[in-house]
Symmetry: C2
């Protein structure tokens, strides 16, 4: 179809948002809209400026005949603070403390709007990292893992506590739970991970970090590599953690004999890249 | 900020796609862009035409001073067939059959691109239904449930096989597994569902439908209502099912002594609404 600029802008924006972290050639858009590459380049300049000024994300463009464009989701600092502030406020409501030092988060983790925003934030931290897969342990981390993986168009692998008939042959390892010091088992289907894959570990809650450490062992077992670790909430109390170099969005303290948890920001601001993307050029004429 | 039309189109498209099934007032956009409502209406006409011609979704608009706009994700028939055809092809690969009549789908369910597309398809089926929540049973249905719920901005509630310390008090029911005829238990946190809530049940795989039936009982236990049921794959063999009026995307047959499963389309085409959205008007002048 031949489309006008206004129509191209709408369709191209929708297309880019649905295909994050995938390089799309100018030729593809040029054919899709039956428009010259120079017009497409101008469109992309407009989209790029808006994505960046509205902090929707980054557009990385490669010049030349084989040139292309790649949308990289990135959350601006203002939205980061708005998200963390909302989560802090929600999590410090009464009646959230559960026996054993846990926090009731099921309602928050049930909301796709929160989950998707958290996913975009975690993806923003790792915007410059090569990632091949996102790993989590069943069950609560699963939606977060998908939210991150969606922003990168990479697969999720789910570690389980026991093997299932629906998963074929599995690799099983033992690990020591950090808080209870008990030996536990985790399993992963053999077909899940390729050798040398760069894996981002994502989970909802970390006390001592035993599960996280177990997952790093699992990754090594497959000959793959830990590209990073991110948790939504870590506890302030259990120190030192069994893992280091992890990103936490929030930090939980449970005060003695009080009903209201204290939630602070985690270390995520130390991790957010300042210069997130290499400077890029768009092959284009002056913008109309 | 004051923005030009081209910039408004990019930002508004991104904003609408990120806020599905939410009514956004013209005043909001008018303030956001410091532009007259008449200009915003014209923008929306352009976006609406493109969303519909490109089958990105529907824009439902309400005229008048209190008017607003609502983006409803909808997958066009062409994309539906492309998606189902891809899934059929992937699922009929060798080595997918597992003991007990199960199909190995872990790799497919691990891919956010597939999961999100399947979620948009299921959301399209229920585009005209009032929905308050999406329910699934752990574990494999979870990503599908979030993918559907994301398209509607409604929460997900996850039924578990046993209660967890992190969930507070729970409601527990017994149900009979359809295929094995064994009595099983499912639990849901008390705070999960409100009375009269309209709940869409989503799962990845259905043999006799025992789990589905269990979830409908759980919904009744909360005084809520089943708004619909959808599964990715149903088996052709187990008949009749314990539930009726469910949507299936694909149907699996396991031929005797063969290594390759047969996958056909399910009943989804019977369910996709032909006239998906009521005719709507945009309050606007003639388009520039």
């Amino acid at each position: 179809m031949k489309l006008k600029r206004s129509s191209r802008l709408v369709d191209m924006t929708a297309y880019l948002l649905r295909h994050p972290q995938q390089v799309i050639s100018l030729s593809y858009f040029s054919e899709r809209y039956q428009s010259a590459k120079s017009s497409i380049s101008e469109d992309l300049t407009i989209i790029k400026e808006n994505f960046e000024s509205q902090e929707i994300g980054r557009l990385q463009t490669q010049a030349g005949a084989a040139g292309g464009v790649c949308y990289m989701p990135y959350m601006g600092l203002e939205e980061v603070e708005r998200l963390l502030s909302t989560l802090r406020q929600q999590m410090t409501q009464k009646n959230r403390l559960l026996p054993g030092g846990y926090l009731y988060m099921t309602d928050l983790l049930g909301k796709p709007d929160y989950i998707n925003a958290i996913g975009r934030l975690i993806a923003s931290v790792f915007i410059n990292e090569k990632l091949d897969a996102v790993m989590t342990m069943e069950t609560k981390g699963i939606p977060l893992a998908y939210a991150v993986a969606s922003q990168r168009s990479i697969p999720v692998v789910i570690v389980r506590r026991s093997s299932k008939v629906t998963e074929g042959s599995t690799v099983s390892i033992n690990y020591i739970s950090g808080s209870s010091k008990r030996i536990q088992t985790m399993v992963l289907p053999r077909r899940s991970l390729k050798e040398n894959a760069r894996v981002l570990i994502v989970d909802d809650f970390m006390k001592a970090g035993g599960t996280m450490k177990g997952m790093t062992s699992m990754i090594q077992e497959f000959g793959a590599e830990v590209a990073g670790m991110a948790v939504l909430v870590e506890t302030k109390e259990e120190q030192p953690k069994l893992v280091d170099r992890y990103v936490s969005l929030l930090k939980l303290t449970i005060p003695d004999r009080q009903e209201t948890p204290i939630i602070e920001n985690g270390n995520v601001y130390d991790w957010l890249p300042k210069q997130h993307v290499n400077p890029t050029k768009v092959e284009t004429k002056d913008q109309a």
